[in-house]
Amino acid sequence: MLILKPKKDFEVSVEAEITPDLAEKSEEEIKNFEVWYGKYKVKLGELFEIKKEGDEKKLILDGDFSRVKWIGRGMTEGEIVVKGNVGAHCGAFMSGGKIVVEGNADDWLGAEMSGGEIVVKGNARNLVGCAYYGDLEGMKGGKILIEGNAGNYIGEKMVGGEIEIKGNAGDFIGTEMKNGTIIVHGDCGFVGGDMKGGTIKIGGKFDLLPSFKKAEDGWIGDVNVGGEGKIVKI
């Protein structure tokens, strides 16, 4: 297990593509692991206090990581626990393991992830589980649970997996989604634009698009793409 603590309030954001694999490395290697601080490549040890406790594949990020991006990028196994907030692209491309964010998550949480689990105890911002610009598929598998609220553009171009939001979500949920499930317990804006398949379950109020047809247990669409996606009230 590896415990990281920011040494200071960062002037600009830090890009640290760290995964639980790092916990297996020697203390020396961990200290010298390169991260980006603005345009400077710096050693992890320069920005963070490092404490290693055994070889378990687990990272404890203790403190405010809201200005640290790309945490857990492409991780395959192990666990990351963020004690505070976390920066953008957390868990992007991850295929396995678990990330728990005790605070809030920034944009692009779990973007294009294909497996594993992300739990955010606070709120998440925009583009959760989405596809990066130009890519044709967003989230492919795994699960994202947000216990608070989420922002706009959730699960765009999703082809698998599940996103569950306990609170409210913003606008444009499940746009161009092909498969998988999105659950919003609270309210949200437009839902399922151009969705081809998959299911969106909503507990609260939302904006229904005119390109959906009423079905027995909700709505089916989007007719503009000959879609068979389902919007279901829960």
Binding site: W108, R125, N126, G151, N152, Y153, G170, D171
Partner: protein
């Protein structure tokens, strides 16, 4: 009584004509007002030259009030430093702030309209 509105910002000819002379009285005049629907204008008890305070979750600003061709419940402000006191700084991950469609409230006020330098906080 304050009324709830949706705020939109946009270009105008006068704003455009003075955009390279921002430290002039003409620019100040071009950007320090808002347009309200006639009905809203009356319900706030306003007359030409009166001021209103507009508040949103992003800030507040005092501007002159005019009647304009906007629907009820919509307020138009020319783009510029006054509008930007109350527009959304949240880009929802797109990079584009929500310059049109922020919700807020408008009320009549006796407070003065700040100068541009005051708005910017450099004076």
């Amino acid at each position: 009584m304050p009324i709830e509105v949706e705020i939109i910002t946009g270009r105008t000819i006068d704003q455009g004509k003075t955009v390279e002379e921002k430290l002039t009285e003409e620019y100040f005049k071009a950007v320090s007002y808002c347009e309200l629907n006639e009905e809203d204008f009356r319900s706030l008890g306003l007359k030409e030259g009166d001021r209103v305070k507009i508040k949103t979750e992003f800030g507040e600003v005092v501007v002159f009030a005019k009647v304009g061709s906007v629907p009820k419940g919509v307020v138009f402000i020319p783009i510029g430093p006054y509008a930007n006191q109350i527009t959304s700084d949240d880009t929802d991950g797109t990079g584009m702030p929500l310059f049109k469609g922020v919700k807020g409230v408008v009320e009549r006020t006796e407070e003065n309209v700040k100068s541009i330098k005051e708005i910017l906080g450099v004076e």
